[in-house]
């Protein structure tokens, strides 16, 4: 498949770099795991190089053979799922356009007997994930989001939230392969576009058949579940019109329907949810988190979301945007437009002088404000068209992005004259992955 070749080509440089970083961290777990371990850790980077060659030359026939065998295994797995809960490890994965979100359930109620029976590779995975907060150069565990003492499917443990950039998928697959994930006879439930895009890579590179799930279904399942088990998951900003003083307040989402669910990832999807199983994608927009970061990179030369946000927090968008008062000298009263409202995003940049006097921070701020307000405006129209008054914003664009959340809260409140309420969830971008995990435990 051309995707495979493309993927390896693309990842070559980053892959080796990542692998090397991952490698040194492994040995100290591996001390207790004498067999396979040494082999795998030694061959880690070498295998990556070999894999490239293999996937290019060996191509189709090998993968067909694998597919037949693994699908039989999959069927057996599904059979056992129906009787019991699935074997560990329990993962849920959401492969988006920019980020891969992984949730991992770490059982804390492991009995001695269980511990005895636990295969080495499983233990290794558990230790690797739970004893680190960073994986490679780009993988990160959001420790502050960890849900301890969570009861899932009769087991108690901690839910861990991990993310890494989608463009590091090759390195991740390499690790999965080296951890002998496929030998654990578990099912990897994955959602997001990448579950489809990388299906063949999982099969070829890690000998894993993904259980592909629809992203919207997972998203809603994840939101509803987390909200039901985590107190104060949902919150809103009190007095959103006063940006300086507005504060987060818990919002019990007891009777959530109908609600508008706005998922802001690379792009944006807007769903109208009427019940657990009754929902509809109302619309979406391509102006999302990817646009913010993409434009910021082009305009300021930054390279990460955090960097872009940091710059935005220091900038002043009114240097870049043309406001109503810039045109009318004050409010445009005839149409009830306040002078501070943005008349034209980046409108001041039509002038050469202003282009020359503006700072990178200003540009980053304007980009953030433009994208955020646009999402707010489309959301508001959807809420009106669907007659829904409650809007829940999720997605990783909102991660550490209080600025956008407050802007959204403000925009919803101001333009609807208090009719619409903007709600946010603490686990922002992980609901798809949680939904995928729930699907593993309780197939619908």
């Amino acid at each position: 498949m051309e995707l495979n070749g493309h993927q390896t080509d693309d990842g070559t440089s980053e892959e080796t770099e990542n692998d090397e970083v991952v490698k040194p961290k492994k040995p100290h777990h591996h001390q207790q795991t004498p067999w396979k371990e040494t082999q795998s850790s030694v061959s880690f980077s070498a295998t990556a190089a070999n894999m490239e060659g293999a996937s290019v030359s060996a191509g189709g026939s090998a993968s067909i053979a694998r597919r037949t065998s693994s699908s039989t295994i999959a069927r057996q797995r599904i059979d056992s799922l129906k009787k019991n809960r699935p074997p560990f490890p329990w993962f849920g994965m959401d492969i988006g356009g920019t980020l891969v979100k992984l949730v991992y359930f770490e059982p804390k109620d492991v009995t001695a007997e269980e511990e005895q029976e636990e295969v080495e590779s499983l233990r290794s995975i558990r230790h690797y994930l739970t004893s680190h907060t960073a994986y490679g150069t780009t993988g990160i565990r959001d420790v502050h989001l960890e849900l301890p003492g969570l009861s899932l499917c009769g087991r108690t443990g901690s839910l861990h939230f991990i993310r890494f950039p989608t463009h590091d998928m090759a390195a991740f697959l390499q690790m999965v392969r080296d951890k002998h994930f496929s030998s654990l006879h578990t099912t990897l439930c994955a959602t997001g576009g990448g579950a489809f895009k990388f299906e063949q890579d999982f099969l070829k590179m890690a000998d894993l058949e993904l259980c592909k799930l629809d992203e919207l279904e997972c998203l809603i399942r994840g939101v509803l579940h987390i909200d039901s088990v985590v107190p104060s998951e949902c919150y809103y900003f009190e007095t959103p019109t006063d940006l300086e003083h507005c504060e987060e307040k818990a919002f019990p989402l007891e009777n959530p329907y109908p609600l508008l669910l706005v998922n802001i990832g690379s792009g944006v999807s807007i769903l109208a949810v009427y019940s657990k199983d009754n929902y509809r994608r109302v619309t979406g927009t391509s102006l999302g988190g990817g646009t913010f970061l993409g434009l910021c990179c082009l305009l300021t030369g930054c390279s990460t979301f955090e960097e872009a946000l940091e710059m935005a927090s220091l900038g002043e968008s009114t240097h870049v945007d043309k406001l109503v008062k810039d045109i009318y000298g004050g409010d445009y009263e005839r149409f009830g437009l306040p002078g501070w409202a943005v008349a034209s995003s980046f409108g001041n940049m039509m002038s050469k002088d202003k282009r020359e006097s503006v700072s990178k921070e200003d540009l980053a701020r304007a980009t953030l404000v433009t994208i955020t307000n646009n999402i707010g405006s489309i959301t508001r129209m959807c809420a009106l068209n669907e007659s829904i008054e409650r809007v829940v914003f999720v997605g990783n664009f909102l991660r550490v992005n209080t600025l956008s959340m407050k802007l959204l809260a403000y925009a919803m409140d101001y333009w609807s004259k208090g009719q619409l309420k903007a709600l946010f969830l603490k686990h922002e971008g992980y609901f798809g992955a949680v939904g995928a995990l729930l699907e593993l435990l309780n197939p619908s």
């Binding site: 356009g97 391509s286 999302g288 646009t291 993409g294 043309k322 034209s344 995003s345 980046f346 282009r355």
Partner: protein, 775 residues
Amino acid sequence: MAGHVGGSEGGSNSMDKSITLPPDEIFRNLENAKRFAIDIGGSLTKLAYYSTVQHKVAKVRSFDHSVKEAEGDPLYEISVQEEITARLHFIKFENAYIETCLDFIKDHLVNTETKVIKATGGGAYKFKDLIEKKLKLKVDKEDEMTCLIKGCNFVLKNIPHEAFVYAKHADPEFRFQNTHPDIFPYLLINIGSGVSIVKVESEDKFERIGGSSIGGGTFWGLGALLTKTKRFDELLQLASKGQHSNVDMLVKDIYGGAYESLGLTGDLIASSFGKSATTDKQFSKEDMAKSLLHMISNDIGQLACLYARLHNLSRVYFGGFFIRGHPVTMHTITYSINFFTKGEVQALFLRHEGYLGTIGAFLKGAEEDNPNQYSWGENYAGSSGLMSVSPDINPMQRARSGTFDMLEMDRLDRQLVNLPLLQDPSSYIPDTMDLTEDSHAREYWLYCFEEALDGVVKRAVASRPDLPEATEQAEKFRQKYRHKLQTLRQQPFAYGSLTVRSLLDTREHCLNEFNFPDPYSKIKQQENDMALKYYQKVVRALEDLSWEQRQFALVRGLLAGNVFDWGAKAVSDVLETDPGFGFEQAKQQLQERPWLVDAYNQWIERLKGEPHKCALFFVDNSGIDIILGVFPFVRELLLRGTQVVLASNSGPALNDVTNNELQILTERIAGMDPVIQSAVKDDRLTLVQSGSSSPCLDLSRLDKVLATVVRERRTDLVIIEGMGRAIHTNYYAALSCESLKLAVIKNSWLAERLGGKIFSVVFKYEVPPQMQVQH
């Protein structure tokens, strides 16, 4: 009053400026100008003024009846008189010309009543002092949005084919819309530096229901930052050459293909600029500009759809500098609207979009003249027409002198309304053939009109023996009309859909422009004189026939009369070489039954039934046609007890009988024929004017009086006669009462197209479906 602004005295000495204005063509009729308005945008200035134009009009006046006329004396005299009509002038030029233009206006402005100039647009403030200093007029600022809406209402009401849909890959790419008789409610999306979304509910009621800050300014500002390209046009040029998929993250970049369960195809943009979130890759200016264009167009399209849905509106017009004649943005907006509404809403654009602000500002200033009380018509001779701004599409653009674009609107004496008998006014299309869509037909007709030009010039000169410079003027007419034809060959959509009617009307407008108000007046006079002499003989011959024979003879008489048509080249050739070609000979030219379209039997069956209450007859040519064809037919109708309304042109067109002439002819015939006389006396025979000066007929723009008469008399039969009115137009017009459309096809190309030969007969008798049940 001063004479015309002519090239002779208007220009040379006063035009010693860095930029030379072609004064013959722009800022016409300035000496009578009043009520100025100006709309100064970011790069273009639009100026409006109202002036009166002295027109030559041919008047016919009956001779005194008490004096017994000698044999051979004409029955009426023709004189060319001056008439003053109102005209609106709109001129668009680049802001760079503003000072030169103001100087020019100052030098030529004679009227001193004017004290203020209405101003709108962002630049009005910037140029306020300059305008006040140069013109000594007080600048009076008007709200931009109010002007825009007023202007929009005005063009939608007064210019048929104002709105169009744009289809990049279709031929032609412009598809003009039939203006709905009720233009309200609609949504206007104005894409300037930001976006305003305005719901317009009536002439005075509109509301800004929303907007967006992501607009033309975002494209320009962000585009300039990303590509280091300063000009808006250049950014669009860049965008048209780019590949957005290099910069945008598509659905297939995330999914590897389509997101099938949601029906999202792989090529859909999932995240604009989603691929540019990296520092180790360079992106081309073209690709970034394209991605930006898509991002903004899609966003605007999406909001437009959300607002349209929320307010349940399906007519959505787009305007503002982002759109203004740019095929690139019209395409992306159209695409976006189609995507988001799944084709339920069409993106509509306006031919005179750039003029809306200035038209509105002008109307605000002219409220005391009640411009909205009148109907206005686009003057094809004085208007530049829609020009594509893309030089790739429009090679004519380069050849045009300067960058001046003009629109002129003539005030029509009467208010124009729909014929109340149209079955569905909103779907009525006057023209049978759209030459913009039919390239073969277009080529043929453009060739035809070019070929006929020599003859028209000759007749125009002959019609003005009183005018010493007639030859010179006729030559100017030739140049102007030929240039229009060339323009239309390049840009068939310049004045809306190109039709035989618009070609004919353009010719009439050009003839008027050079003071040839009625080139056929003498010919019409001769023909009328000759035909009157035969009237009684024809009527007597008909009376001797049996009922059945007479009905057939009457129809054949109508058709034979219709062979006499100077508008058709085949006939004008015969008439010029053989003046003795008479009524009887004409009948022999007619096709034998069965005719090309032959509903004669149904018509006769109908005549055996109840008489019609009232017949409305749209008449065609002077001379034999009206006198020996139409009148005997009308006489029979009257004798059956049917009232008759004769509708004729308000102004001259070719050899068509005008209302003025018809009045004299009717008087004369009444003098000879007691049937006609009593009918006139009892008001059973009425003459009305159609409101038109075209050889064709637009049933959606008819004199209001005609509409009233038609309604009052409970008209139940409409007769439309002649190629121009029944074939080129109205062939497919559906009426809510019985109708008779008849014509002789005097053009072999058209006859062939319809599957017949030259002099084939069309006799179309139609009964609307709802009435067929009763019969």
